[in-house]
Symmetry: C2
């Protein structure tokens, strides 16, 4: 593989001159520059990013730490959407992405800092991390620039992007209340997710705001999975048939609830109204189409990358970026009988 040394030899100049010519420095003769560029093209020279990074102290790469990069993560397209957003912005800024492997046990031995430092990534974007993940402390303590998705951590070198999950949930409850629903239940995710806490808070705030009673036994965890949500919703609806509406902390769980309702012979939305969260692709394709709180996940990724690069270049003091969410009324909610 060709190096600047080869070019130097061929052009009869020193490597310094070649380096300067190729990097667009002004203090190099126009003729020599042209000659050098010509030769570079001829021998198909590509700069060695490794060698360059070694001396330049930056790699122009962003590390990606993604938990949901597993087989069933495909159903909700959230991870993918965020990834796409990150990719879009990073690409436009000349940064490449490296996917870290946190899934396999082999790599799990490595600490967060080790992972990042080995590859010498300039910064990291973290997605799908749980509250009790040991990485979280490391992220905070290390001095590696980092942006998290949906996990509020703030620091000199770390920030986050999220949506207003409290407000989003309140929108859902308001919508349900407007339709005359009083007995509203909630299927939440799990206690290891920050969004779950927020969405529950929004649920409760919304209920209070609307003057509705909160039955704490009507708030159950569905583990963010369709199956578990189906199961808990089934029992919930059997035990408390007076429930007329369920707010779910994710669309996937809402799908599970729809199944449970079907099994019990309850029609959606006639007998049971359902509101989801996320607006995944499936939401608008299932029948009936799911009413949900939409998050612009692509934009979350895009803004995360933007925020990270700003932290990197210290061009901004901002450490938090909130994205709008929006109630999308479709076919799973209806006026209470």
């Amino acid at each position: 593989m060709a190096t600047i040394k080869d070019i130097a030899k061929l052009a009869g100049v020193s490597v310094t001159t070649v380096s300067r010519a190729l990097n667009g420095y002004s203090d190099v003769n126009a003729d020599t520059r042209k000659r050098i560029e010509q030769i570079a093209k001829e021998i198909e020279y590509s700069p060695n990013a490794l060698a360059r990074s070694l001396v330049m102290k930056h790699t122009k790469t962003i590390g990606l730490l993604v938990s949901g990069l597993s087989r069933d993560g495909a159903k909700d397209n959230i991870v993918f959407d965020v990834l796409t957003g990150i990719n879009e912005y990073c690409g436009s800024m000349g940064y490449d992405l490296v996917l870290f492997n946190t899934t396999t046990s082999k790599q799990k031995e490595k600490t967060y800092a080790q992972l990042c430092r080995e590859r010498r990534v300039d910064g990291v974007i973290v997605q799908g991390i749980k509250k009790d993940d040991p990485y979280l402390i490391e992220i905070f303590d290390s001095n590696i620039p980092c942006v998290l998705i949906d996990v509020p951590v703030e620091n000199e070198h770390t920030g986050y992007v999220s949506t207003d999950n409290v407000d989003g949930s309140m929108k859902a409850i308001r919508h349900l209340a407007e339709l005359g629903h009083i007995n509203i239940a909630m299927i939440n995710g799990h206690d290891q997710a920050y969004v779950s806490k927020e969405r529950r808070k929004g649920f409760e705030l919304g209920m209070v705001e609307e003057g509705l009673d909160i039955h704490s036994e009507w708030i159950v965890n569905g583990e963010f999975t369709e199956l578990k949500a189906e199961e808990v919703a089934y029992h919930l609806l059997v035990d408390s048939p007076e429930i007329t509406a369920i707010f779910c902390a994710s669309d996937l769980m809402a799908l599970g609830v729809m199944r449970a309702a079907f099994e019990l012979g309850k029609r959606v939305p006639d007998d049971l109204s359902i509101v989801g969260y996320d607006d995944i692709t499936l939401a608008s394709y299932v029948t009936p189409a799911l009413t949900t709180i939409a998050q612009d996940t692509f934009r979350m990724g895009y803004e995360a990358a933007d925020l990270l690069l700003k932290i990197l270049h210290q061009t901004d003091e901002k450490r938090v970026q909130l994205i709008d969410n929006e109630l999308k009324v479709r076919k799973t909610t209806k006026r209470c009988k």
Copy 2:
């Protein structure tokens, strides 16, 4: 950031010894090794992969060239699934993934070889590339180990993984013929995709095998998009109401055809049977659930990574890996009236 030099100083030995100790060489005193490891931990040393790669001539990274990494690529979860499969295998083998940016115009100036050589990736996996993409020639001509998804290119250093698209399509036609369908149309993708050619061939072979007439005007391109497929299917069904079944080269397009049927007041599957291709997540969630030819896209990614590493280490002569596909009969196909 700590280096082996720091450790050497602290331990009172040479860098050579440190290097050997940390890399598990046998010719180093047990005591010194222990001391070195101890110090390494204390000062939080991580090896610099850049420096190592510079001398080792390999980076333990695989480059990913993905075309469908765009916002609407989320609907069909194919790209994501393949990515997950690649990630799974590479992770288990200690390889990291770097996502190349081919989408943005800025990076589009770079040639394939430049992209790969700059980052010094050990190999590349290419997905979603079209027949007329200039990269294709480069992939063949360069000597960079590469595995393509669904593009038959074979070489000393390049191979591919795919499914038997001819056979898959024949399965679809056989199924339709068994149900008594005679007037079968096909919505294909576009001419820049290899799979389109294959699936068309399978369609035709299947029709011949079943003794059915092929109407060439009943084979139209839907560009692999839902919208375009809906449009062409609409016209097709208006012009030729005798059509009772449509085979689509992708599930997304099948969804478009379902819409077209709905607009025309045709019931699926009573008035029109539809078979898709891919078995994306949406396929089993829409109503009626889509009959389709399922591809194990996760496995395609997994096997692609496996094949690539084998080419890399020259442990196998194999350059092609075919994955099974399978007809999944659901609710969009029915006996012809």
